[in-house]
C-alpha cells in the first residue's frame, strides 16, 4: 500500500539528512507504528506518505514514494487526498471550517462527492466516532479529545485507504486515548484500513500494532519488523516490556493481558519478598506552600472549578490528574495568579529576598513584575511560549537579568537539567526535552518555592521523560513544592508523592499516589495493573523488592 524506495530527505539549510536510505513497504490493512527518539525523523517519514514532505516543508526528497500506486513526485498532497488521510500533531491547527459538521464534510466537498453520499457518510462517521452530540458545535469550543476525534473523522469521512497519524494521543487523557485507539483498531479490522501512527507513548499503542518501524536517529538506519522483535531490541520500550525483560518472560508480552498471564510466578515471588518498598521518604511533607480554599472559577457561565480546597506542601510532588477539561490547567492558572477566582482564595507562601514577604501568605494575583518570579513559576503546555530569545544563551542571560539572579545561573541550571545542550541554538531548534529544560531553568532562576508544570511530557521520549522525573525528584528533595498537571500515568507513578484527581472541576480523590492510582483502572500505571493487588507502581519498585541493584 505504501512503498518507500531508498528515500532520503534533506531539509533546506541543514547538511545532514533527516532521513536516509529508507526502503520499506507497508501492506494493506496493517496498523504500523513508527517509533524513535525525539528528532529521529518520525514526522518527516509520515510527511513523505502524503506528499507534505517536501511540497510544504521544502527540502529535497530523493528516492521514490509510492502510495496506493501513485508516485508522490507527480502527485501533490491534494491529488492524494482521496487515498491518504493525514492528521497532524495539533488537531486544531488542521481545522479549516468552523463547525463540526462542516469540518467532517470538508474533504468530501473537495473531492466533489455527490451530496447524498456526503450526507450518509457524515452520519456514519459521527456514529463511528461518537460525534453526534457535537454536530453543530463550534470547533474552537471542543476539548482536546473531541478535537482529535473530529480531526480523525474529518479525514475518515472521505474513506481514504490509508490513515497517517502523528502522535494522535499525545494531548489526550488515558480514557480518550483508549477510545481513539479502539476506533482505529476497529477500522483496521472491519474495513481493511491501513494505518500508520507515530507515537511516543508506546504503553498506549504497542499492543495494537501489526508492525513497527524503528528509527534510530536522524538519517540513521531504519528497521521495519514485528512488534515483538522491535521491543526485544529497541532501547525505546514501555513499562510492560521493561517488566517482561526484567522477569525474563518469553515471548515478550506487549499488552497488560499477556503480561498478567505470564505474571503469577513473579507475583508470588514479590509477595514473599521481605518488604514492600517504602511509600515515600519521610521528609517529603514540609510546611504548606500554597493554600487553596473554596476556589471556584467560571468561564462564560461554565464552571471550571468548584469548591476546591487544597494544600500544596514543600518537598512534595503533587500530580493533578483528570479528563481533558476537568480543570487541571485552570487550577495551575489560579495557583500562579493568571486566573481570577470567582469565589474562594488562593494564597501562596511568601519569598525571602527583597519583597520581604517571607512567613506571610500572599495572593499571587497581587504580585507584579519580577515579584511573581520569586514566588511561583509555571512551565506552560508549550514551553516555547515562555521563550523569546534568539539563542538559548541569550534567553538565559535575559532570564538572569529579569529575575535578578547572578549572571550565569540560568545557563548553569539549563546545563544541569539537559547536559550537552548547545547554548548557541535557537530555542525552536532544540529538541522537545531541551526546550522543556530551558523553560524549567528560566522558571527556576527566580528561585520560586512553588513550581507548576502543565503537561510536561508531551512529545518527550522515554529517556527525556526519565531525566525529567529525576530532575523533579531532586528539586523536591531540595524543598520545592511541585505541582504537575498530567495525563501521563507513568510519569505520575514515577515521581509523584501525592495524586489529586479532578472531575468536572471538583476534587474527587486526594492522597498518596500509591493509593490513589492503584485503585483507579484509568490512572493506574502498567506495572500496577500487571502486579495488582501488589502495591507496586514502577519497575524501580519491582527491582527494589527483588533485591536487584537499582
Amino acid at each position: 500500500m505504501i512503498q518507500l524506495q531508498d528515500v532520503a530527505v534533506t531539509y533546506a539549510g541543514s547538511e545532514a539528512p533527516a532521513l536516509s536510505g529508507v526502503t520499506l513497504s507497508v501492506p494493506e490493512g496493517e496498523l504500523c507504528l513508527v517509533i524513535g527518539g525525539t528528532g529521529s525523523g518520525k514526522s518527516t517519514l509520515l510527511g513523505t506518505m502524503n506528499g507534505l514532505v517536501p511540497y510544504f516543508t521544502g527540502g529535497r526528497l530523493s528516492g521514490r514514494v509510492t502510495v496506493a500506486g501513485r508516485d508522490t513526485a507527480h502527485h501533490p498532497p491534494r491529488e492524494l487526498a482521496d487515498v491518504v488521510g493525514a492528521v497532524g500533531q495539533d488537531a486544531r491547527a488542521t481545522f479549516v471550517t468552523d463547525t463540526v459538521i462542516d469540518e467532517l464534510a470538508y474533504t468530501m466537498e473537495s473531492l466533489a462527492l455527490p451530496r447524498a453520499v456526503m450526507r450518509r457518510r457524515v452520519e456514519d462517521t459521527m456514529d463511528l466516532l461518537g460525534l453526534a452530540d457535537l454536530r453543530d458545535r463550534d470547533l474552537r469550543t471542543l476539548s482536546g479529545g473531541e478535537a482529535q476525534r473530529v480531526a480523525i473523522g474529518a479525514v475518515l469521512a472521505a474513506q481514504p485507504r490509508i490513515l497517517v497519524l502523528d502522535e494522535p494521543t499525545s494531548a489526550l487523557d488515558p480514557g480518550a486515548a483508549e477510545e481513539v485507539l479502539a476506533i482505529l483498531q476497529r477500522l483496521v479490522h472491519d474495513i481493511g484500513l491501513t494505518v500508520v501512527i507515530a507515537e511516543h507513548r508506546l504503553e498506549r499503542v504497542v499492543q495494537y500494532a501489526d508492525s513497527v518501524i524503528v528509527l534510530a536517529g536522524p538519517g540513521g538506519p531504519v528497521r521495519h519488523c514485528s512488534p515483538g522483535e522491535a521491543m526485544a531490541e529497541s532501547d525505546i520500550f514501555p513499562p510492560v516490556v521493561a517488566l517482561g525483560r526484567l522477569a525474563g518472560w518469553a515471548p515478550l508480552p506487549l499488552s497488560i493481558r499477556d503480561a498478567r498471564r505470564a505474571a503469577p510466578a513473579l507475583r508470588a515471588r514479590l509477595q514473599d519478598a521481605p518488604a514492600v518498598p517504602p511509600t515515600a521518604p519521610p521528609n517529603r511533607d514540609g510546611p504548606p506552600v500554597a493554600q487553596v480554599r473554596g476556589l471556584e472559577v467560571r468561564y462564560a457561565g461554565v464552571t471550571a472549578l468548584q469548591g476546591l480546597d487544597l494544600d500544596v506542601r514543600a518537598g512534595q510532588i503533587t500530580a493533578v490528574m483528570g479528563r481533558n477539561g476537568a480543570g487541571k490547567s485552570t487550577l495551575l492558572g489560579a495557583l500562579c495568579g493568571l486566573v481570577k477566582p470567582n469565589r474562594g482564595t488562593v494564597r501562596i507562601a511568601g519569598a525571602d529576598g527583597p519583597e520581604r514577604t517571607d512567613g506571610l501568605f500572599v495572593d499571587p494575583r497581587a504580585l507584579v513584575g519580577s515579584a511573581l518570579l520569586h514566588h511561583v513559576g509555571l512551565v506552560p503546555q508549550q514551553p516555547s511560549d515562555l521563550l523569546y530569545g534568539e539563542t538559548a544563551a541569550q534567553e538565559c542571560a535575559q532570564s538572569d537579568r529579569e529575575s535578578g539572579s547572578p549572571a550565569g545561573l540560568t545557563a548553569q541550571l539549563f546545563q544541569s537539567i539537559a547536559p550537552g545542550a548547545e547554548l548557541e541554538r535557537h530555542p525552536r531548534d532544540l529538541s522537545e526535552g531541551q526546550r522543556l529544560a530551558l523553560a524549567l531553568a528560566v522558571v527556576l532562576s527566580g528561585r520560586p518555592r512553588l513550581v507548576l508544570l502543565d503537561e510536561p511530557t508531551r512529545g518527550l521520549d522515554y529517556p527525556a521523560k526519565a531525566r525529567l522525573a529525576r530532575t523533579l525528584r531532586e528539586l523536591a528533595a531540595a524543598g520545592l513544592a511541585i505541582v504537575l498537571a498530567t495525563h501521563d500515568v507513568e510519569l505520575a507513578a514515577e515521581c509523584s508523592d501525592r495524586t489529586v484527581v479532578l472531575a468536572q472541576g471538583q476534587l474527587i480523590a486526594d492522597g498518596p499516589s500509591r493509593d490513589v492510582v492503584t485503585h483507579s483502572p484509568v490512572f493506574a500505571p502498567q506495572v500496577a495493573k500487571i502486579l495488582a493487588p501488589l502495591p507496586m507502581l514502577t519497575i524501580a519498585d519491582v527491582r527494589l523488592a527483588l533485591g536487584a541493584p537499582r
Binding site: 491534494r78 493525514a86 479549516v96
Partner: protein, 367 residues
Amino acid sequence: MKPRLVHPVAWWLWAIGMAAAAMRTRNLVLLALIVAVVCYVTLARRIDAPWARAFTLMWRLALLTVLFTVVLQIVLGIRYPGTVLLRLPGTTLPDWSGGIALGGDVTAEALLAALTNGLRLAAIIVCFGSANALAHPTRLLRVVPAALYELGVAAVVAITFVPQLAESTVRIRQAQRLRGRPITGLRGLRGLLVPVLEESLERAIALAASMDSRGYGRRGDVGRAFRALTGAAVLVGLIGACFGTYTVIDSAADRTVGVVALAGGTAVAAAGALIAGRRTQRTSLRKDPWGWPEWLTAGSGIAVAVAYRIAVPNDVNAGYELEWPHAPVSAVLLTVVGVLAGVLTPRPPLPGARATRSPERQLAGTG
C-alpha cells in the same frame, strides 16, 4: 419560522443597496436614518462570531470618520462664505492648492458640509461593516469560483486569522506576565508582537498544508491550462466589474464606459465560473438555500437604492444652505423598507455551546 442564516450574497446585495442609497443623498435626516436602519438590522440578525463582533469596530470607525472630517474642515478646508462661527488665525494657500485654506474663518455652512460628507462616508462604512458582520464568511467563500485556488486559500487563512490572533495574544501576554515582564506600554507591545506574528505565520502555513492535504484545489481530470484560463477569465472579469461599478457610482466619470465595463466584466467572470463549474471540482454538503428570505433581503436593499434613484431628488451637487433639512415623508418611508430585512427574515440559529471557550487553548485558563 425556523431559525437559519440568510444567504451571505443576499446580505451583501442588501448592504450594497443601502450604501448606494446613502451615496445618492446629502440630506442629514435621511443619512442618519439609513445608518440607524443598517445598525438595527445588523444587531437584530448577526450571530455571536468573531467576524460579527468586528461590527463594533466598524461603527466606531464610522464615528471617527465623522469627527475627523469635521475637525479637518475646521483646521484645513475649503472656505464657504456664510455665517461665521469662529475666526481662526490663518493664511490662504497659493492658488495651486485649489482654494484650500489653513485656518481662517470657520462658517456654519462649512461645518454642515463637513458633517454631511462625513456622515455619507460613515454610512458607507457602516453598510460595509454590516455586510461583513451578517454574511457568514465561509459560506460566502463557497460562492467563490473554484477556479481561483490561491484566492480561496488566502481567504480561509484571513478568516481564521483574527480569532487565532486573539487567542495567541492572550496566551503570550500570560507568558510575559509569568516572566515578570511589562505587559503594557511600548516594551510590552514589542514583546507581544513578534511571537504573535511568528505564531500566526506558522498557523497560516499549517492551515494551508491542511487544506491541501485534504484535497482543496484538486485538479482531478481537469487540465492545467484549462484551469489557468478559467481562473484568468474570472479574475479579469471581476476587475472589470469593479472598475465598472466605480465609474457608475462616481458621478464625474463617463457613465457609458462604466456600464459597459460592469456588464462586460460580469459576463466574462460569470462565463469563466460557469465553464469551470461545469467540470465539477467541488460540491457542498449543505446547499445554502435561496428562498423568500433571501429575495426579501436582497430585494429590500435594492428597492431602497432604486427608490432613492427615482424618488429622492439628487442634491449631491447642490449648495449647503443653513436650514433644517427637509425630509420628504415618502423618502423616509422608502428608507424604512430596508428594515424589513431585519424583521421578516428568520432569526439566526442560537449559538449552541459556543460561549464556552476551551481553556486548554490558553496558557492556563482564561486570564
